[in-house]
C-alpha cells in the first residue's frame, strides 16, 4: 500500500505491505534506529513510539493504521540546544546501563506525562510497563519524578 503519514513533523509517503509492523517502516525504511525491536509481541515496550500522542508498541501496530497520522519517535525529542525534559531527567539521574530499552521508556514516560502531568506512584506503575533487563527501574522512578519537576518549571 501507499502509506502517507507524518513522522517527526515531516510528511512521508512509502510503499509497504499494509500489515508490515510500523516498527520496520520506522527502522528499516526510514532508517530511524532509535526505536528498538525487543520481542515483536507487544510485551517489552522497546518499540514504543507515539501515534497522535498515544504511546503504542510499534512492533504490533500494522503500518496501515498509521495512514494520515502523526508519529513521534525518540529522534524528535531533543533539538540542537536542548534535551526534552524527560531526556534531561534521564541524564540527570544517569539512568541507562546498556541503554537498549531506554528510548522506549522515555517515549512511554513522555506520553504518560502529557496525559497525567503529575502521576501518582500507582499511575506510574500501571502505565510504565516496559521491560529493562539491566534493571535500571530504581533510577527511572527518580527520573520520572524529576521530569515532572522539570516540566513544571519550564511552564512557569
Amino acid at each position: 500500500m501507499q502509506l502517507t503519514f507524518e513522522i517527526n513533523n515531516q510528511s512521508h509517503t512509502v510503499e509497504v505491505p499494509e500489515d508490515m509492523p510500523l516498527l520496520w517502516v520506522i527502522r528499516d525504511v526510514l532508517r530511524l534506529k532509535g526505536t528498538k525491536f525487543g520481542c515483536g509481541q507487544a510485551m517489552c515496550g522497546a518499540c514504543t513510539v507515539q501515534v497522535d500522542g498515544d504511546a503504542i508498541r510499534s512492533c504490533s501496530y500494522a503500518a496501515k493504521f498509521a495512514q494520515g497520522k502523526k508519529v513521534t519517535t525518540i529522534e524528535a525529542l531533543a533539538n540542537e540546544e536542548k534535551l526534552h525534559p524527560v531526556q534531561q531527567a534521564w541524564l540527570d539521574e544517569r539512568v541507562p546501563q546498556c541503554g537498549y530499552c531506554q528510548p522506549g521508556f522515555i517515549m512511554a514516560t513522555k506520553s504518560l506525562l502529557e496525559k497525567i502531568p503529575n502521576p501518582s506512584e500507582d499511575e506510574i506503575n500501571d502505565n510504565i510497563t516496559n521491560i529493562c533487563r539491566c534493571g535500571t527501574y530504581h533510577r527511572m522512578r527518580k527520573a520520572i519524578h524529576r521530569a515532572v519537576e522539570l516540566q513544571q518549571k519550564s511552564k512557569l
Binding site: 505491505p17 520496520w24 528498538k36 544517569r94 539491566c134 534493571g135 527501574y137 522512578r141
Partner: protein
C-alpha cells in the same frame, strides 16, 4: 611488568600504536584453578604488537578497548584508567571497541566481572608508557630534554614552545620505547580514578543514537532469516524452498549443509517467506521433558568433585543431632532485550561482521572455521550490546549471517525473533543443593556439608576447550558461591556435575545466586536453631583474617544502614544474607511484606567491598541492576521443557521484574585494598536468601524453591 613483553610499533600516517603481549597460558590455567573466585582477570595473547592507542593527525587520542560495553560502564572505566596516567583530559580520549582485525583482541571474553580488575595494571602501564613516548617525542621536536617538558591543556609545553597533539602526531618521525621507565601513580595520587564522572555513553543512549548490534548497517543491505529447530535436539536434514522463492520481496532461498534461510528486500518479507520453507528435521528419538531433566539435576547424580575440605565433615555428620535441608532453582533465560543477530558483508577478500558479541575472538574464529577462511579475512566489529548477561558468549548467528551474505553477494542483516531466542538460547541451569550441619553446645556450627548439583555452566562455553575439563575438575561456573565462607572446623563442599541433554550456560553470576540461596537460607535456619540473631550468628563464625574482616564489614554496614534490630512497620520483616564472589564480599538486607499471599520487597540495602573503585556511581548502578535481576529470578522467573520446547516462550508469560516490582535500593560502598575487584555479578548473590529469610520471619516457613511463592499463590 616484564619489560621484554613490550612491543611498540609506529604506523605510517595514522599516528602511533602501542602494544603489549601478555603472559600466555598461565591465566587460562589460573582461571580454571580451584579458587576461581580469587582470580584477578588477566590476558593471555600473542607477543604481537596490538593497537591500543592511536594519535590521529587531528590530535585525537583514540583508545581501542578489547572489552565490550554491555551496560556495565566498562568503556567509561577504562577511559578513566587511561586518562589517569596519560594526564590528558579524560573527555579528550575517544574510546572505541577494537575490531578483531585491528585489535587489541581479548583472549577471553567480556564477562565474569573481570574487565576492570583485569585491565587495571596493564592499561595504566600502557598509558604511562605512551605518555612518556609522547613526552620524549615532543622534547625532540622542541630540542629540549624530556625532563623540561610538561603537559598542559592537552599540549606539551617547554618554556615558550608548545606542541599540540595534532602536531605531535604529524611531525613525529619515529616512535620508540621510552628511555625512562614510567612510574605508576599510587592511589593517593589519583585525580580521575575514583571520580563519579558522567559516563560518556549515556547521552547518545538517551538520544536513541544508532549504536547497537541491531542498528548496524551496510549500504545496499538486504534482510535475512534462518529456520531454527522446532524442538531441542532436532537437527537439520534437508530442505526445499517450497513456495517461499516466489513470494514478494524474496531475493533468494538459501539452503546450506546445515540450515535453510531466506534473503529478501525487507525483514517482513523474509519472515513471511521463511514460514513457507519446507525443512526436514531429524527429530530426537524421544522429546525432552521437564521431568527427565529434574531427575538428572539431583545431588548424587553424575560426577562429584570436592571443591572445599576442612577437617572431617562427613565423619562428624554421621551421628548426633543433624540439621538438614535442600533447595531447588529452575531453568531460566537471559531475556536480553536486544535479540541475537548480525549484519555481514561478504566479499571475495573477506567478510566484515557488525554485531553484539561478548567473545570477539571466538566469534571470529568460528566464522573463519565455518566459511573456510583465514582468520585475518574475518573482521568482527563489535557494537554496543543491548544486554549481555552471558548470552552473547555463543554466536552461531554470525556464521549464518556470513553465509547468507555470501549466497546473495550483498550485505545481509539477520536477527532472531523472540520465540527463537527462548527456544534456542542457552538456559540458566536448574540446580539442586543439599546441606547438613551440626551445632556444638555453645550453638556454633561444628560441621557443615554442602552438595550442589547443576547442569554445565562454564563447560559448555567455547572459552574452555574440552581438554581443560580434567584440569579444572568441577565446573567452576556451576559452583560459584558454593564454598562456605565461615570459619567452621569441619567443612565439605562437593559439586556434582551432570550433563543435560539441553544446552545450559553462563547467566549473570553463574551458580552464585542458587548456591547462595541454599547456603545462606540454611545459615539462617541454623541461627534460629541456635537461638541467635542472624547477624550475630554470622559474625561469630568469621575470624580476624583479612577476608573475614571484609565480610564482617559489609555485613555490619548493610545492617547499620538498614536499621537491623530496630522496630519496623507491622507486617514487615528484615532478612539478611551475604556472599563473596571474585573476591568481592556483598551483604544484602531485604525488607519484605506479604500482601494477599504476594511477596513484596520494600527495600534492599546492599553493602559491597569491591576494592579500589574506579567510578563509584558505576558501581552503584551495577549493584542496583544486579539486585533487580536477581530479585526477578527470586520472585518470578522460570521456564520448563515440554515436548522439547522451552515454555513459556514469550516475555510477559515469562515474568520479569518491572518498575512496579522494584524496591527502594540503598547501596553502601566500602573500599579496601589497592586494586579493583569484580562488581557486575557479586551483588546477584545474596538477594534470594535475604528475601527468603525475611519471608520466613513473616510466615515461619522456609521456602526452598525459586521462584519463591507463599502458600495460596
Amino acid at each position: 611488568m616484564n619489560r621484554r613483553k613490550f612491543i611498540i610499533r609506529a604506523t605510517v600516517g595514522v599516528g602511533v600504536t602501542v602494544g603489549l603481549g601478555w603472559l600466555a597460558k598461565a591465566p587460562m590455567r589460573r582461571a580454571l584453578a580451584k579458587f576461581a573466585d580469587e582470580v584477578q582477570g588477566e590476558y593471555s595473547g600473542s607477543e604481537k604488537a596490538e593497537v591500543w592507542f592511536e594519535l590521529t593527525p587531528q590530535g585525537e587520542l583514540v583508545l581501542y578497548s578489547p572489552k565490550v560495553e554491555m551496560g556495565q560502564g566498562v568503556l567509561q572505566a577504562i577511559a578513566q584508567l587511561a586518562a589517569e596516567e596519560l594526564e590528558i583530559d579524560w573527555q579528550k580520549i575517544i574510546v572505541k571497541h577494537a575490531s578483531s582485525a585491528h585489535g587489541p583482541l581479548d583472549s577471553m571474553s567480556t564477562g565474569g566481572s573481570l574487565s576492570v580488575s583485569g585491565l587495571y595494571n596493564p592499561l595504566r602501564t600502557l598509558a604511562a608508557t605512551f605518555r612518556e613516548m609522547m613526552r620524549e617525542n615532543a622534547a625532540t621536536l622542541m630540542n629540549v630534554s624530556p625532563d623540561l617538558v610538561t603537559f598542559q591543556n592537552n599540549s606539551f609545553v617547554s618554556g615558550d614552545q608548545t606542541i599540540t597533539l595534532a602536531k605531535l602526531a604529524t611531525q613525529s618521525k619515529t616512535w620508540k620505547k621510552p628511555k625512562k621507565e614510567p612510574k605508576l601513580k599510587t592511589r593517593a595520587q589519583f585525580k580521575v580514578i575514583g571520580k563519579d564522572l558522567l559516563r560518556f555513553d549515556l547521552l547518545p543512549k538517551i538520544k536513541g543514537e544508532p549504536m547497537f548490534g541491531i542498528d548496524a548497517a551496510f549500504p545496499d543491505m538486504l534482510y535475512g532469516s534462518v529456520v531454527l529447530p522446532p524442538v531441542k535436539d532436532a537437527t537439520f536434514k534437508s530442505a526445499s524452498a517450497g513456495s517461499a522463492a516466489s513470494l514478494p520481496g524474496v531475493v533468494k532461498v538459501v539452503i546450506e549443509k546445515n540450515f535453510a534461510g531466506v534473503v529478501a528486500t525487507s525483514r517482513f518479507a523474509a519472515e513471511e517467506a521463511k514460514k513457507q520453507i519446507d525443512v526436514q528435521w531429524q527429530m530426537p528419538e524421544k522429546l525432552i521433558q521437564q521431568t527427565d531433566l529434574e531427575a538428572l539435576v539431583k545431588v548424587g547424580n553424575g560426577n562429584p568433585v570436592s571443591i572445599q575440605k576442612e577437617g572431617n565433615a562427613s565423619g562428624e555428620l554421621k551421628e548426633g543431632e543433624i540439621i538438614s535441608a535442600e533447595f531447588f532453582s529452575p531453568f531460566g533465560v537471559h531475556a536480553h532485550i536486544e535479540p541475537n543477530g548480525a549484519v555481514a558483508d561478504y566479499r571475495t577478500d573477506g567478510v566484515t561482521i557488525r554485531m553484539s558479541t561478548q567473545v570477539v575472538r571466538i566469534t571470529r574464529d568460528e566464522v573463519a572455521d565455518a566459511l573456510g577462511l583465514d582468520k585475518e579475512k574475518v573482521n568482527i566489529e563489535p557494537m554496543y550490546l543491548g544486554g549481555g548477561f552471558g548470552r552473547r558468549l555463543h554466536t552461531p548467528h554470525a556464521i549464518a549471517a556470513a553465509l547468507l551474505s555470501k549466497a546473495v553477494g550483498k550485505p545481509v542483516h539477520m536477527f532472531w525473533n523472540r520465540v527463537e531466542e527462548f527456544q534456542n538460547g542457552f538456559l540458566r541451569p536448574a540446580t539442586h543443593n543439599t546441606l547438613k550441619a551440626k551445632l556444638n553446645k555453645e550453638g556454633k556450627i561444628e560441621s557443615i556439608e554442602h552438595n550442589t548439583s547443576s547442569g554445565d555452566v562454564a563447560f559448555t562455553s567455547p572459552l574452555f576447550p574440552k581438554a581443560l575439563y580434567s584440569l579444572a575438575g568441577a565446573d567452576f561456573g556451576a559452583w560459584r558461591g558454593a564454598m562456605v565462607q565461615y570459619n567452621i572446623p569441619n567443612i565439605s563442599t562437593v559439586s556434582w556435575r551432570v550433563q543435560l541433554p539441553i544446552e545450559t550456560s553462563w547467566w549473570r553470576g553463574l551458580g552464585l545466586l542458587a548456591n547462595t540461596f541454599a547456603l545462606e537460607s540454611f545459615i539462617d535456619d541454623l541461627a534460629s536453631r541456635a537461638n541467635k540473631d542472624a547477624l550475630a550468628f554470622r559474625l561469630q563464625h568469621l575470624d580476624d583474617s583479612e577476608r573475614s574482616m571484609r565480610m564482617k564489614n559489609v555485613l555490619q554496614a548493610a545492617c547499620t544502614k538498614a536499621g537491623w534490630g530496630k522496630s519496623l512497620p507491622d507486617g514487615h520483616a528484615l532478612g539478611l544474607a551475604c556472599s563473596v564472589d571474585v573476591n568481592t564480599p556483598v551483604a544484602h538486607v531485604a525488607e519484605v511484606r506479604i500482601i494477599e499471599n504476594e511477596i513484596r520487597v520494600v527495600r534492599i540495602t546492599c553493602a559491597i567491598d569491591p576494592g579500589l573503585i574506579v567510578n563509584p556511581d558505576g558501581v552503584r548502578a551495577q549493584c542496583e541492576g544486579a539486585i533487580v535481576m536477581s530479585l526477578s529470578a527470586t520472585l518470578f522467573e522460570e521456564v520448563t521443557i515440554k515436548d522439547g520446547k522451552v515454555t513459556p516462550n514469550r516475555l510477559g508469560y515469562y515474568a520479569i521484574a518491572q518498575l512496579k516490582d522494584t524496591p527502594e535500593i540503598d547501596v553502601v560502598l566500602l573500599s579496601t585494598g589497592d586494586s579493583p575487584r569484580g562488581v557486575g555479578e557479586p551483588p546477584m548473590g545474596p538477594t534470594a536468601a535475604a528475601i527468603g529469610n525475611a519471608v520466613k520471619k513473616l510466615t515461619g516457613t522456609r521456602l526452598n524453591r525459586l521462584p519463591l511463592k507463599v502458600l495460596g499463590q
